[in-house]
Each structure stands twice: as structure tokens, then as C-alpha cells.
């Protein structure tokens, strides 16, 4: 029943997509200045239908309709309501439906909110966007149909993979998708802009809010994924350079570069073709990421179960997209020469872009390198954190310094009257760095530089904040994001340097001492929960310096549906530090393997990222206020 409703709605959406393209082409021919009302209506229907379609799938999950394969494979009647709901997008088909929803809704909203831009530009954007929508709808309908039936109807579902049953992960896909699927709209707009020669300042204004939306959500989405990895995977870190994580980071780099160069286009009418390249690149990278994750070409912790035909479909679609945009781009490309003064805001923004592109290429190389070696030399390699850390970290120092100076530079030509100020800030940062090192005791040259440059950015942003407060200029959003970025790197640096990590085996009743801490294995008990059994350990952490006791309860969970064992870390988050314990059983022994970690400033890493993205939302709010 629900399966039929869902399929009908999907099919209706295909028809609507085709009719939008047809009507839009008709509309291009006539000489009216306005877009016909009919197109608006059909777009509204399209968005409504796809939402109803999504809610059909959601209700199939909620009422546990196991006649639908997707529900059968990914849900279970005993699963808590919240995870039944979020299970809708915790699988390939469901999340692809979410893709299409965001494509469709963004298409409608872009049409609605750009009324003062020329008709042809808007119509072409709509057509391109609908071509994308159709591409994904066909894929959804014929290859990855979330409403496929299973016969005979099973009595019970197989259950959602337990490590996906986590609140952070429930919100992770929607946030991330608004980010990188949202970038489709400026891909379409960029193509429309090339086709209609609608360039420059006005083009920048028409897409800037969309870039902001996708960038802010992408930031939050990456954060949610990272929080999930920290709390759920039990590896004790927040970023692992896993291919899937990288796939979400790549479009973020492109978006961040775009966000900045768009300012130059809007203010100085420069860099138009570069902005177009970034618009196209962002969405192409998003689809590439999807390809890498969904096709099974890469082995990673969280790739979905795969089927080679999916990979082929996405790859064909991706190739068409890339070739169409590259050919069109070269067809329209004009060599524009502009003189940039090396000491101007434009140049500094371009420097930001170089850094972003550098990071992008590094991460992209690291991610696809294993595929290349395997195909070309039949040799399996894996590129891990050491590669990324060595290549990226030293460059971050330079990046932070430019980031501190850049915003203070004036447009066109700058006079360095504030050199003196920067010098003072630098001295201050070095002083702060050494007092941190003195207080915490620990030393490495690279981390000193990281901390100095991060503090430098923080102080510069604070000075900037003070100045704007006096002048009442509206750039709090930028300052907020930059300041938080400085704090982010600072906290990551501190966290990395002053973490304690101990790995040892303990039996019930035993105690382990190291530095100022002792870890005592107090108790072990078995408990039954709604959808799993758990072996829970009780550990007492004693800090002899502060004479403080803390109790942590790591778990080994045994899930029935599907039968899986997961190791749940017990984490005590504090304002200054997190304690982190995981326990795993050792075969044929009474001993348990204990991993203890003290991680300073974890919470502040999350908070910094939230504020980075809040900067984006704040700018969005300011822009909206300006427009109306």
C-alpha cells in the first residue's frame, strides 16, 4: 500500500520534472518579462509531492511495514521510535530520496527568491536544476528504489546497524545534505550565468545567500559526523581522514574558497570566471564524493552495502556533468586581464583561495590515490593520518597568519599603517604560547608554531572586533567565524599536545597507576535493554593532584537485530577536559583491555565549530535584513 503510494509519487515527480523543463523552454521563446505562473505552480507541486513521498517512507518505517525491502533491511519493530524515524535516511535508498528532496526544494526556493534577476537567467537555472533532479529521480526510481517490495512479507526486520543508532548521526545526513546537495543550485546558476552571459556583481548577489546556507550547514554536518565518530566509534579521536569524512570535507574547501572570492566579485567585479569554476567544482566534488562513498570503490568504515550498477550510474552522470560544464566553460571563457595590487584585500582573498585549493588537492589526492595504485599497479595502499598531518599542518600555520592579516587590508590598495600593531600581537601570541607550554609541560616545535599562529589569529580578530564595535561596521559575522576558527585550531593544538593515552589490561578489582591518575576496575554487571544486552564496567578514576574521584561506565553491547557487538566508550565531558574509557574483552581470559584517555578542551572544539557556522548564519540574517 505505502509502497504503491511512494512509487506513484516518484513517478509523478518525474513527469513534473519533464513538464517544468518543457514549459521553461516554451517560456524562453516568448517575449514576456515575467515567468509564467504555471511554472511556479508546478514547482510548488513538485516540492510538495516529493515531501509527501518522503513522509510516506517515514511512515513505512514508523509503522514497520516490512513489505518494503528497505524497511525490512534497515528497521526492526523493537527499535526506539526516534531511530525508526532517522533510519529512513540511514541507508542508501532513503538518503538518496533526501538528496532529491533538497534538489527540488532548493530549486523552488531559488526560483521564488530571485525575482529581481533577469528571466532568462532564472529559467536556465531552473532547467539545469531540473535536469539534475531528473537524473537523480531516474536513479532513485529504477536503480535504488526505496519502495521496492519483498515477498513473502517478513515478520520482522533485520534492524538498523547499531552504530548508526546515535542522535548525532540521526541529524548528520540532513545537515550535510543541505550543505553539499544545496551546492547544486549554484552549479545550475553558474551554468545559466554562462549561457545567458549574466555575469559580475549581480550574479554574485543572486547566489551569495545560497553559498552561505550550504556552507553553514555543511560545517554543522561535518561537525555532527565528527561528534558521532568521537562518541560512538570508540577510537578516541574526532577526525580520522577516512575517505567518507574526506568526501564531506572536499566540497567544504571549495565552498569556503567560493564564499571568499564571491566577495571580490560582488565588491570589485573581478574573478568572475574563477567564481564560476568554484561553483561548478563544489557540486562536482559533492557528486564525486557520493560516487566514492556509494559505489564501493573505496573501502571505508561507513560505506553502505553496495551494488556495482549504482557506481556505474553515478559515474556516467558525473562524467556528463563534468564534460558539459568543462566544454561550456571553455566555450565562454574570455581572458580578462586585471591588475591586482599585491597589497590589497583582493590579493589576500585570492591567497585564501590558494590555500583552500591546496588543502583540497591534498585531501583529494590522499583519498583517490589508493584507487589509482590499485588500478594501475595492482598494489593496495592506504593513505592514513600521517600523510595528511605532515602535509597539512605546517601549511595551516601560514594560513592562519594570512587569515589574521587579510581582513584588515583595504580594497584596491592598502597602506601598512598597522604593521606595528601586528608586531605587538605577534609578541603577545609568542608570550601566551610559552606560558601555555610552561603550564602544561610539553614541547614540540610544530605545535608551538600552531599555537602561536592560532593565538595570533584570535587576538587579531578580537582587535578587529573592538574596532568594528567603535565604527559600527557590519562585519561581526566574518569576525565571529574567523575568531572561532582561530580558537578551533588552538584547541585542536592543545588537545593534540596535552592528551594522555594509556592502553592496558585489567581484571576486576585491579588498579593501574600512572602520572597523577589511577584507574580502578570496581565492578562488572550485565543488563538487559530494549534492543540490546550490555556488559557494563565500573571504573574509578582518581586524580591525586586534585584529590578528585570520577566514575566511568564503558559498555560492551550485544545487539540482537542484527546481531552485532559494539564497544561503547564512556566519556565524562568537562569544561576543561574529557575522560574517555573503552573496554573490550580479551578472548579466553578474565582480563579486559582498557583504553584510557584524557583529552583536554574537547567540548571547545565542538563549540568552536558551532560558532564558525553561526558566523555564516549571522551573515545570512544580516543579508536578509538588508534585502527587505
Amino acid at each position: 500500500m505505502l509502497s504503491n503510494i511512494g512509487n506513484t509519487l516518484l513517478f509523478l515527480n518525474i513527469l513534473l520534472g519533464i513538464s517544468i523543463i518543457y514549459l521553461s523552454l516554451q517560456n524562453l521563446k516568448n517575449s514576456k518579462i515575467l515567468i509564467s505562473k504555471k511554472i511556479y505552480h508546478i514547482c510548488l507541486f513538485q516540492s510538495t509531492f516529493i515531501l509527501i513521498c518522503f513522509f510516506t517512507l517515514v511512515s513505512a518505517f514508523i509503522i514497520s511495514d516490512f513489505s518494503i525491502i528497505n524497511v525490512y533491511e534497515n528497521s526492526h519493530s523493537l527499535k526506539p521510535f526516534f531511530y525508526k524515524f532517522s533510519g529512513t535516511w540511514g541507508n542508501h535508498e532513503g538518503s538518496l530520496l533526501l538528496w532529491v528532496i533538497i534538489l527540488t526544494i532548493f530549486s523552488f526556493l531559488f526560483l521564488l527568491y530571485n525575482k529581481h534577476h533577469p528571466k532568462n537567467y532564472r529559467i536556465y537555472s531552473l532547467i539545469i536544476q531540473n535536469v539534475l533532479i531528473l537524473g537523480f529521480l531516474f536513479f532513485l526510481f529504477f536503480n535504488s528504489n526505496p519502495f521496492s517490495k519483498v515477498l513473502p512479507i517478513p515478520k520482522e526486520g533485520l534492524g538498523l546497524n547499531p552504530i548508526l543508532q546515535d542522535p548525532a548521526l540521526a541529524i548528520h545526513p540532513p545537515l550535510l545534505y543541505i550543505g553539499f546537495v544545496g551546492s547544486s543550485i549554484y552549479f545550475s546558476a553558474a551554468i545559466a550565468s554562462l549561457l545567458t552571459n549574466y555575469s559580475g556583481k549581480l550574479f554574485a548577489q543572486s547566489i551569495k545567500n545560497w553559498v552561505l546556507i550550504s556552507w553553514s550547514f555543511q560545517t554543522l554536518g561535518i561537525l555532527a559526523g565528527s561528534v558521532w565518530a568521537y562518541y560512538e566509534l570508540g577510537w578516541g579521536g574526532f577526525w580520522f581522514w577516512d575517505p567518507v569524512e574526506n568526501a564531506s570535507l572536499l566540497p567544504w574547501f571549495a565552498m569556503s574558497a567560493l564564499l571568499h572570492s564571491l566577495i571580490v566579485l560582488e565588491k570589485r567585479n573581478l574573478l568572475y570566471f574563477w567564481v564560476i569554476v568554484l561553483c561548478l567544482l563544489t557540486f562536482i566534488l559533492s557528486v564525486t564524493g557520493t560516487f566514492l562513498v556509494r559505489s564501493g570503490i573505496l573501502n571505508s568504515v561507513h560505506t553502505f552495502a553496495n551494488d556495482p550498477s549504482r557506481g556505474v550510474y553515478i559515474l556516467v552522470f558525473l562524467s556528463l556533468m563534468i564534460f558539459a560544464s568543462v566544454l561550456l566553460f571553455f566555450n565562454k571563457f574570455k581572458n580578462t586581464s586585471y591588475n591586482l595590487n599585491s597589497n590589497s584585500k583582493e590579493t589576500f582573498i585570492l591567497i585564501n583561495n590558494w590555500f583552500m585549493i591546496f588543502y583540497l588537492i591534498t585531501v583529494l589526492l590522499g583519498t583517490v590515490y589508493p584507487i589509482f595504485t590499485e588500478v594501475l599497479t595492482d598494489h593496495k595502499v592506504s593513505v592514513g593520518p600521517p600523510f595528511y598531518n605532515t602535509v597539512i599542518i605546517p601549511i595551516v600555520i601560514l594560513f592562519l597568519l594570512f587569515m589574521s592579516v587579510g581582513p584588515q587590508i583595504q580594497w584596491i590598495k592598502n597602506k601598512f599603517y598597522n604593521l606595528n600593531l601586528f608586531f605587538k600581537i605577534l609578541i603577545g601570541s609568542i608570550f601566551i604560547n610559552f606560558s601555555i607550554v610552561y603550564l602544561f609541560k610539553g614541547y614540540s616545535l610544530l605545535s608551538n608554531f600552531i599555537i602561536i599562529s592560532a593565538v595570533f589569529l584570535v587576538i587579531s580578530s578580537l582587535v578587529d572586533l573592538y574596532k568594528s564595535y567603535k565604527k559600527i561596521k557590519e562585519n561581526y559575522s566574518r569576525i565571529l567565524s574567523h575568531l572561532s576558527f582561530g580558537f578551533l585550531i588552538l584547541f585542536i593544538g592543545l588537545n593534540y599536545n596535552f592528551s594522555i593515552e594509556k592502553d592496558f589490561n585489567l581484571k576486576l578489582g585491579e588498579k593501574k597507576n600512572f602520572e597523577n591518575y589511577s584507574v580502578e576496575f570496581k565492578d562488572l554487571r550485565l543488563e538487559d535493554f530494549k534492543n540490546y544486552k550490555a556488559v557494563i564496567g565500573e571504573f574509578k578514576i582518581y586524580n591525586s593532584e586534585k584529590n578528585l574521584n570520577q566514575f566511568l561506565y564503558p559498555e560492551i553491547r550485544i545487539y540482537e537485530n542484527p546481531s552485532t557487538i559494539t564497544y561503547e566508550a564512556s566519556i565524562r565531558s568537562g569544561i576543561l577536559k574529557d575522560y574517555y574509557i573503552t573496554m573490550s574483552n580479551i578472548d579466553r581470559s578474565d582480563y579486559y583491555n582498557i583504553k584510557f584517555q584524557k583529552k583536554p578542551f574537547m567540548i571547545w572544539i565542538w563549540i568552536s565549530v558551532i560558532f564558525i557556522s553561526l558566523g555564516g548564519f549571522l551573515r545570512l540574517y544580516q543579508n536578509a535584513k538588508k534585502d527587505y
Binding site: F291, A305, L315, F323, F330, I371, V375, L376
Partner: protein
């Protein structure tokens, strides 16, 4: 002119990347066990558990069907599936090849003494390296093959009552 060179370089580069992706997609990854069914097993080389010899394809062709079962004495689900294996041992058209996975010899022998020995041939994979070639993630896992060494089905986790019936049906056909 310059524009043309850049354009063709970029296009060739993209074609190269997409080509590599495409080949990569069609390449079989050992870790991807979903596609195992229908493939042929080749290059079998397993150490015999008690005799000083290597088990090869020849041993797998001795009966119409072979169930390769990966197990260990320390794995509790293996105990659970053991009665099913003992029942399968009675099938005429089926031989059982056990692969003792990352186990100690004494413990493995005790396990078989206590619970019964269902295996026609027993191999040993002390380091777990050979099992990876069969696409084994963890144990217990079992692979059902026919005389042509083609994989008919792979069972992840313990063999259940349903799996037992499934194997029985295929073997008796």
C-alpha cells in the same frame, strides 16, 4: 591556441581519471563479499590440521558439494552452529572442510573431542591470513561450493536451522 592546449589537457586528464574510476569499479575487491556468489574458488592452499600436507583444489573436488566452515574454539557462536554441522555431516553429497581460524591446536582438539567432529577434512589457519583470501570478515562464516568450485552461497554468522534446510535441499537435488 594556448586556450586549446589547456582545454584538451584538462579534458584528457578528466577522461583519464574517469577511466581509472571505471576500471576500479569493475575490479573485484576481496573485501567485498557480497559478490562472491557465482565466482570460482582458485589457488587454494591450506595447511592440513594434523597431517604434514597442503590442502588444494583436489580436496575440494572429492564430493559433489563442499561446505567450507571457518571456526575456532574461542568463538561462542561456533558452538551454537556445531549441532547443525554434525547433522550436515550425515549428508551423502556433501563434504565438510573445516578451517580452524587463529586458534591453539590443543584448544581446537578439545573442542572437537567435547562436541564431536563434523569435518571430513580439517585445515588450520593459525594466522588467519589464508581465510582472508576467501573473503572472511570474522567467524563463524561458511562457504558452500559445488564440484566446479563455484560458490553457491556464503553464510555469515552461525549456520541456522533455515540455513541447514537450505543446504540440505541443494545437496539432495
Amino acid at each position: 591556441m594556448q586556450k586549446k592546449i589547456i582545454k584538451s589537457t584538462i579534458i584528457l586528464f578528466i577522461i583519464f581519471i574517469i577511466g581509472v574510476f571505471f576500471i576500479g569499479l569493475n575490479k573485484n575487491s576481496i573485501y567485498d563479499t557480497k559478490n562472491l556468489v557465482g565466482q570460482k574458488i582458485a589457488n587454494v592452499q591450506l595447511e592440513h590440521f594434523s597431517e604434514n600436507r597442503i590442502i588444494t583444489e583436489v580436496d575440494l573436488k572429492k564430493n559433489n558439494f563442499t561446505l567450507i566452515n571457518f571456526w575456532s574454539s574461542w568463538c561462542s557462536p561456533c558452538r551454537k552452529e556445531h549441532p547443525m554441522l554434525l547433522k550436515l555431516n550425515k549428508e551423502k553429497n556433501l563434504q565438510l572442510l573445516g578451517v580452524n581460524f587463529k586458534d591453539k591446536k590443543i584448544n581446537a582438539l578439545k573442542f572437537l573431542r567435547d562436541l564431536g567432529d563434523p569435518y571430513n577434512v580439517l585445515a588450520r589457519d593459525e594466522l588467519g591470513k589464508h581465510s582472508i583470501n576467501f573473503g572472511i570478515y570474522g567467524i563463524p562464516e561458511s562457504i558452500l561450493i559445488n564440484k566446479d568450485l563455484v560458490i553457491i552461497k556464503k553464510f555469515i554468522g552461525p549456520i541456522s536451522q533455515d540455513d541447514y534446510r537450505y543446504i540440505k535441499n541443494i545437496v539432495r537435488k
